[in-house]
């Protein structure tokens, strides 16, 4: 019997080695970030990691500031962690992203500081090409031509070719060893349903050798329904359920 549900976050990320290439989903909301997987990876200690992610992440301090700012509207979760945590801990070797920096001069993200210290490498790429490169990895496409990028730094070192009189950049697939994604519900086959904008969470699920999904709950098989499933279980290797009561510190085993 297939059962992709793993008991703990620590178990789910236990075999991620130092030097791994990792996709990390989530964007634009604290409620779609695979925070517990990120925290577990921080506890686990792997280093020299390369990440692909929309954004470099705010880190713990700035998240606390955002929590205060957002308080009139929404309770920013106490169990929110993003890649900023791993940048702060010095676990990143390289980041492939579209948003490496906080907006505004006064908001300096942990990744920016690591970049200034020369500890990490940045590969800057627009969100569309990043998304398509990851989708290409999932879909077995080695490379593709996009009209986005010619004449900009993104095209440097890449083939540029005309199609219909329009220059296109050749971008290559960006696979990963592991993908950390967050969904709403799952079943034991690894079928996923998302809530809200699906961001890179849906894009990355299936683009890595091992996709690990952090979910609110696992429901009995059949409950999600064939029309409602957003990501089929064939793309997902492990599922792990978020604690029902938030654990507010990233270094607490769970």
């Amino acid at each position: 019997m297939i059962n992709k549900v793993v008991a703990t976050f620590d178990e789910a990320v236990a075999d991620i080695p130092s030097g791994a290439m990792i996709h990390c989903g989530g964007f634009a909301s604290p409620f779609n970030m695979p925070s517990y997987l990120i925290a577990a990876l921080a506890r686990q200690g792997a280093s020299g990691l390369t990440f692909a992610s929309t954004s470099a992440g705010t880190g713990v301090e700035i998240a606390a500031r955002l929590r205060a700012q957002m308080a009139p509207l929404v309770d920013w979760p106490l169990d929110y962690w993003d890649l900023g945590l791993l940048a702060d801990l010095g676990r990143m070797r390289k980041l492939i992203t579209s948003f490496p920096a906080g907006t505004g001069r006064e908001t300096v993200w942990p990744f920016e500081r690591a970049l200034e210290r020369g500890e990490v490498e940045l590969e800057l790429i627009g969100q569309g090409s990043l998304a398509e490169r990851i989708r290409a990895a999932k879909a077995g496409i080695a490379a593709f031509y996009t009209p986005v990028g010619p004449g900009t730094a993104t095209a440097e070192g890449k083939e540029v070719r005309d199609f219909g009189g329009v220059p296109h950049v050749m971008e290559t697939a960006l696979p990963a060893d592991f993908a950390l994604v967050r969904a709403y519900r799952a079943d034991r086959l690894g079928n996923l349903v998302f809530r809200g904008p699906r961001t890179f969470n849906q894009t990355m699920a299936g683009a890595a050798r091992v996709t690990i999904a952090e979910v609110e709950e696992v429901v009995p098989l059949g409950e999600l329904g064939p029309e409602a499933i957003h990501t089929p279980g064939v793309y997902v290797q492990r599922v792990v359920v978020r604690p029902s009561t938030p654990i507010p510190s990233w270094d607490t085993p769970c």
Binding site: L73, E132, Q202
Partner: protein
């Protein structure tokens, strides 16, 4: 100098051209304001890069917030009937595939060739591209919305961008707090001018030579 336009007026000037049924993407910063000024009686489909189509206005208080419905910039918005959630790849299939009618993007510099630079934050080690390269390149129409000059008074409309480019030959129109300009065949054509401003005063704040057509008009929202 005469008075510059308010952000709300700038947003109205941009939003005037949202046709009924238009699919519109608004960049972070000034452009987001345009969502509140869609002309009466027109229905516009908003697109947000992380996988949201057709949301409603910004949430005003806690009672209106659904924690799953955010737009870029951590801003909760209202659900609207017909709204759709998407993945990032599908969201950019929509952009790259030419399904966005208008994108409004902030700019640090726009030049006479329609090149857009909106990546680099001065004083920062790294700039953000976000979804701007795809939006600027592939939307049917790209409007740059920005203050006419930097805080230090430097022109942002220039002959040739000096900052890192987001996308080349992509901007169709520039709306600032002083003027409306169209990029046409490598030239900046002054279309509309803020009330009280002279062409010479606008030119003095502009780094590119402005072409002044006979039908130059004063900005009006009537």
């Amino acid at each position: 100098m005469p008075e510059r336009l308010d952000l709300s007026v700038m947003a109205m000037v941009v939003a005037r051209e949202f046709q009924d049924g238009a699919v519109v993407n608004l960049g972070i910063g000034l452009p987001l304001t345009c969502a509140s000024y869609v002309p009466e009686g027109r229905e516009v489909i908003l697109h947000s890069e992380h996988g949201l189509l057709g949301n409603g206005r910004l949430a005003q208080d806690r009672s209106e917030v659904d924690p799953y419905v955010f737009i870029v910039g951590n801003r909760p918005v209202l659900a609207a009937p017909g709204m759709t959630f998407l993945s990032h790849d599908e969201s950019f299939a929509i952009v790259r595939g030419g399904h966005i009618d208008i994108t409004v993007l902030g700019g640090l510099q726009v030049d006479a060739a329609g090149n857009l630079a909106n990546t680099h934050v001065p004083g920062k080690i790294a700039g953000n591209l976000g979804g701007a390269p795809d939006l600027a390149t592939c939307a049917k129409r790209t409007v740059g919305m920005m203050y006419h000059t930097t805080r230090d008074g430097e022109p942002k409309v220039v002959e040739r961008c000096t900052m890192p480019l987001t996308a080349v030959a992509c901007v169709d129109r520039i709306v600032t707090d002083v003027a409306v300009m169209d990029i046409e065949a490598g030239r900046v054509v002054l279309r509309e001018i803020a009330p009280g401003w002279s062409v010479e005063e606008v030119q003095a704040l502009t780094g590119a030579r402005l072409v002044v057509p006979l039908d130059l008009r004063e900005i009006s929202l009537g």
